[in-house]
Amino acid sequence: MTAASTGTLKKTMSENYTELIPGFPLFKGFTANGAKRLIDAGQVKQHAAGTVLLKEGDAADFVLLVLAGTLEVFVDREGQHLVLTEAEPGDILGELAVLCGIPRSASVRAKDDAAVLEWSEDAFRTLLLRDPSLSQRIFREALRTLVEKERSLIDSVIDAQEEAHKSYSADN
């Protein structure tokens, strides 16, 4: 990662995102000025493909809103690279670790050249505290993701049990 590949975008780029943000489901109803306030509360950063933005186990002190590109959410386990999900423009990343005060539960890297809006923990908490409508939408989305993850985890546990049962029956 070079210094040139990551950095705060120039103001002109931020202005383009003020028109993009109201198109995201989470920010439906926002005007360009409303979107500008969201941007002013954080920092727009550009990341080259391959850059790791969040690292599993790290302390969580910022939240990301994906503005452009695709990000990969993954964990590395016993030499295996497991992709949990992909994040697209409009998705928020890293909010649960920040809100719960726990380390990052997964890593995130840019799959291709990406732009994100980075809010510090303070800025993010202020956004949520001040705006009950936005906070309702963000919590709803975060909890939905968590429930979906839990469901797929249950499914894989059941699959694994069936596999184990099959091989056990085969052994006998």
Binding site: K28, F30, N33, G34, R130, P132, S133
Partner: protein, 226 residues
């Protein structure tokens, strides 16, 4: 002193059920029409006996010496009042309920202040004015209101709540009160109003909150534009 004690002894904590409007024995008090509804709590709201504090930036320092209230936009005579001048204006009392978009309603409030109509008449609002943008002392905070709601009989620039000065955290020294809309339209720390032809989104409205904000309309009130 326990938590419950501090709650019950809070002068803003309501000990009684809301009075029916016909029991308000004050001469010339204006009764907000929504208090005459059989069920005074709009859809999706619950009653609170407290008076919660919500704002966008925290309570700004507002000093009465430099306090100004400006009326501009589509008016014949733009006006600026000092605090002393503002307090000389004719005042009324309004009995009204107060509905916050965050789903609490505080019933039974008596507001004292200058009727919004008084201000509109003094400034000579032009007929093409259809919307009002209220401006506040906290970091350029604004809210937009259709002129017909701004000019309702029960809309006023209040400086007393239940007979006492409005505390700073609740928007004092002067707060716009529009009982027939959600309470964020009732700008705290108001410093002026601008009359406009076209509707212009205020602070929360830029974040997707409703341009009108009538708590009684639709299934769940006009909360958001989403």
């Amino acid at each position: 002193m326990g938590f419950l004690d501090s709650l019950i002894k809070d002068p803003k904590y309501q000990q009684q059920d809301p009075r029916p409007p016909e029991e308000i024995n004050e001469p010339d008090i204006i009764i907000s029409p929504d208090t005459r509804r059989e069920n005074r709590i709009p859809p999706g709201q619950s009653r609170t006996k407290k008076w919660p504090v919500l704002d966008a930036h925290g309570t700004p320092p507002v000093d009465l010496i430099n306090w100004k209230f400006a009326v501009d936009g589509l008016v014949e005579h733009p006006i600026e009042f000092s605090f002393e001048e503002f307090m000389q204006l004719p005042a009324v009392k309004v009995y009204a309920d107060f509905h916050c978009v965050t789903r609490w309603s505080r019933l039974d409030n008596v507001w004292t202040g200058v009727p919004t109509r008084e201000i509109a008449e003094r400034a000579g609002v032009k007929p093409e004015a259809k919307f009002v943008l209220a401006l506040a002392y906290d970091s350029g905070w604004t809210t937009n209101v259709p002129i017909e709601y701004f000019l309702k009989d029960d809309s006023l620039f209040a400086f007393l709540h239940d007979g006492a000065p409005i505390p700073p955290e609740h928007g004092g020294p002067v707060r716009l009160i529009i009982p027939q809309l959600y309470a964020w339209k009732s700008a705290k720390w108001v410093k002026g109003v601008r009359f406009l032809t076209e509707d212009e989104a205020g602070f929360w409205e830029e974040g997707g909150y409703h341009m009108r904000g009538n708590p009684w309309t639709g299934g769940d009130g006009e909360r958001f534009r989403w």
